[in-house]
């Protein structure tokens, strides 16, 4: 880890955040993206994105469709690596380590930076196997008893334990949409990641299931750093402490959620959060 002075003195004002110290109420700096540019083939999808993500808090990414939110969030655990035509430039650090360094294995990275996807995507296996899969993959559990415990705590943290504890051997695909999404969250947190990325985790769910997941996010952030992409301004306002607004592949503005929604400094942000476009 690089040794950086913990100073806030030369922090420039404006949309670009370059300082390392956390604003009040947030944990320490967890991930830092600097000048990220990204191309799909010849088409550039991200332009000079600079974004800091802090621990013990939720950062929400908002913006009109196609502006590059998913693209950016997928850079944070190198999920874009599997897309042949995708090329990333810039610097992204997790706890000060460059995650695109040649000696970093994306497989290890993804154990530290988990991801929950838009559509619930449990494996066509039992509920137990869904949660146990990742710990087994990374060899985290020595015994069956250990594994049982990991599965149980993950499901408890995901708020699903009470509903499924009697049918752990039944297929995960047989659960309701909301339950499936919570199962996916349990699966993602089963290896104790430091960062959890969520790409529109509630867009396929009804309001009640959404509320459950939002409560869950609120609890999870106590010892996790969460970045969430959402199309719902209310959701961003409810769950996140910081909000980043993307537009046409550029990060327009990032600030405290309350500031973004009440007093944004950019006209485009203003227009978007008041519903004038997007």
């Amino acid at each position: 880890m690089e040794d950086r002075p913990a100073t806030t003195v030369e922090q420039p004002a404006g949309p670009k955040e370059t300082g390392d110290a956390a604003p009040a109420g947030l944990g320490e700096l967890k991930m830092k993206a600097t000048d990220v540019n990204l191309w799909y083939g010849d088409k550039q999808a991200l332009y000079d994105v600079n974004l800091d993500i802090f621990g013990q808090s939720v950062t929400s990414l908002i913006g009109p469709s196609g502006c590059g939110k998913s693209t950016f969030i997928r850079c944070l655990n190198r999920m874009n690596d599997v897309i042949d035509i995708c090329r990333v430039q810039g610097d992204i650090r997790l706890d000060g380590e460059d995650i695109y360094a040649p000696d970093v294995d994306p497989v290890q990275l993804r154990a530290r930076v988990g991801m929950v996807f838009q559509k619930p995507n449990p494996f066509p296996k039992s509920i137990y196997e869904n949660v146990a899969y990742a710990p087994r993959l990374h060899g985290l559990c020595a015994s069956k008893a250990d594994m049982d415990e990991v599965v149980e705590t993950s499901l408890i943290k995901a708020g699903l334990w009470e509903e499924v504890k009697d049918r752990l051997d039944q297929p995960g695909t047989g659960l309701s949409g909301g339950q499936q999404q919570r199962l996916c969250i349990a699966r993602a947190i089963s290896v104790n990641p430091e960062v959890l990325l969520m790409d529109e985790p509630c867009s396929a769910l009804d309001p009640i299931a959404t509320a459950t997941i939002e409560t869950l996010i609120d609890e999870l952030k106590e010892n996790l750093c969460i970045a969430i992409v959402t199309h719902s301004m209310q959701q961003a306002a409810r769950v996140s402490q910081r909000t980043a607004f993307f537009h046409l592949g550029k990060l327009v503005e990032v600030n405290d959620t309350s500031t973004i929604f009440t007093n944004p400094s950019d006209q485009r942000t203003q227009d978007y959060v008041t519903g004038r476009f997007g």
Binding site: V82, R110, F117, N121, P124, H138, A188
Partner: protein, 435 residues
């Protein structure tokens, strides 16, 4: 604009009704076309099966005559040493069979003309039949045993009704006297149609009554084993590499186009390739089922590759993301998710490829598997034939017995194909997953 709204404004309007009737008629017509096509196809299928079945069922029965054969020591083993296989092998078994027949029919063995007529009731294969009995168990020498001996092709045809008794005797292949004997034997229950095990165990023969599919079945089995062992791993690995690892670009496009083209190459071309490569270049023996299997492997590979790729592509991308998202490596992704999920598709594709290979004839002709093979091949390097090739060879013979055997062998082949296809359907339904 107003016109249109006016006509749609009411369900009952004359205009709307007319349009509706017209549309309903069109839909009914459309359905009729489909049904007509299906009826047409089914009718052909019924006709095909009907004609093959009506011709071929009799091949599964074969007429035999029960005779008390005296395995006389002097004829079989005059030296008295049962260990002398050479002597046992060369003995005049036909004589034993004929004498038993004369005794049974009460014929005077001095009358040569009558004797010759009687001889024609027995198959030319009886000597092999008796010889095999003696070689299997030499202790029967010197005893008299009741043996069911094969009747000749003509006698068989008479019993199966394909020789008409009403034909004038000078144009009939069975004389009046022979008919008399046959009736006499049938009445006593000493001559009847029995299940034709020889059809499944015998090798090639120029007498239809002793010709069987044994060699062809073993040859086909060897070839199928070769295909499964080679084509499945090769095809699945190729498909996996192309789908999961190969960088998309000119090269992979070219490979894809070529594989699709290979699937459409006429099978005889594969036969020529096999002849040039495996036999002329690598020096593998002609007519060997190994070479047949290799050629069929080449032919089946594109099918397996294409179906496997389709099955892999059908695995939802969300499962891929899920696995990668929790930190599965590429190999783990493939081993834990992609392969298990695409297995039903791969199995179905493999079986369909095997079915194609099993029914393939042309390439086998090119590599010399159209051969007269009497003995069972003991290894894939021995000469053998295959089921479809055997059908092809029998179809070229004019004897009545071969005609019915051609249809009978076709029934056997069809039975294999239907069983394998049903297996494919069963596996697909059994392992089909719902997401």
């Amino acid at each position: 604009m107003t016109d249109q709204t006016a006509s749609l404004a009411s369900f009952k309007g004359e205009d709307a009704q007319k349009k509706l009737r017209k549309r309903h008629r069109a839909e009914r017509r459309f359905r009729m076309y489909g049904m007509a096509a299906i009826i047409f196809a089914v009718a052909f299928l019924i006709f095909l099966f009907g004609s093959i079945f009506s011709q071929g069922w009799s091949a599964f029965l074969q007429t035999s005559i029960k005779l008390p054969v005296d395995f006389s020591q002097e004829v079989i083993n005059p030296s008295g040493n049962p260990a002398d296989e050479e002597e046992l092998f060369r003995a005049n078994y036909v004589k034993l069979a004929r004498e038993a027949l004369y005794g049974q029919l009460g014929i005077d063995p001095k009358d040569r003309k009558v004797r010759r007529d009687a001889n024609r009731l027995l198959s030319r294969g009886v000597d092999v039949q008796l010889r095999d009995m003696v070689l299997r168990d030499p202790s029967i020498i010197g005893t008299t045993q009741d043996v069911w001996l094969l009747a000749s092709d003509n006698a068989d045809a008479l019993l199966k009704g394909s020789i008409d008794r009403a034909t004038p005797s000078d144009r009939r292949q069975v004389s009046d006297q022979q008919i008399g004997w046959i009736d006499q034997l049938v009445d006593k229950g000493d001559m009847k149609k029995r299940f034709n095990t020889g059809l499944f165990v015998n090798g090639a023969s120029s007498n239809p009554e002793t010709a069987g599919l044994g060699v062809a079945l073993i040859g086909s089995l060897f070839m199928m084993i070769t295909v499964v062992l080679l084509a499945v791993p090769l095809g699945v690995c190729t498909a996996l590499y192309l789908e999961e690892y190969a960088p998309k670009g000119k090269i992979s496009d070219t490979i894809e186009v070529n594989i699709n083209n290979l699937a459409a190459v006429p099978s005889i071309v594969f036969g020529l390739l096999g002849l040039a490569m495996f036999i002329n270049f690598f020096g593998l023996p002609r007519s060997a089922s190994l070479v047949g299997g290799l050629v069929l492997t080449l032919m089946t590979l594109p099918t397996i590759i294409i179906t496997t790729r389709a099955a892999i592509r059908a695995v939802p991308p969300s499962i891929r993301e899920a696995a990668l998202g929790v930190g599965a490596s590429k190999m783990q992704l493939i081993g834990h998710h992609i392969l298990p999920l695409s297995l039903p598709g791969i199995l179905t594709g493999t079986i369909i490829g095997l079915v194609q290979a099993l029914g393939e004839t042309a390439p086998l002709l090119m590599i010399g598997m159209v051969a007269f093979v009497v003995d069972y091949p003991s290894s894939p390097l021995d000469p053998a034939t295959g089921l479809p090739v055997q059908i092809y060879m029998w179809a070229a013979s004019a004897e009545r017995g071969f005609v019915e055997r051609t249809a009978g062998a076709t029934m056997v082949l069809l039975a294999f194909l239907i069983v394998m296809n049903s297996l494919a359907v069963y596996l697909r339904n059994k392992f089909e997953r719902k997401w």
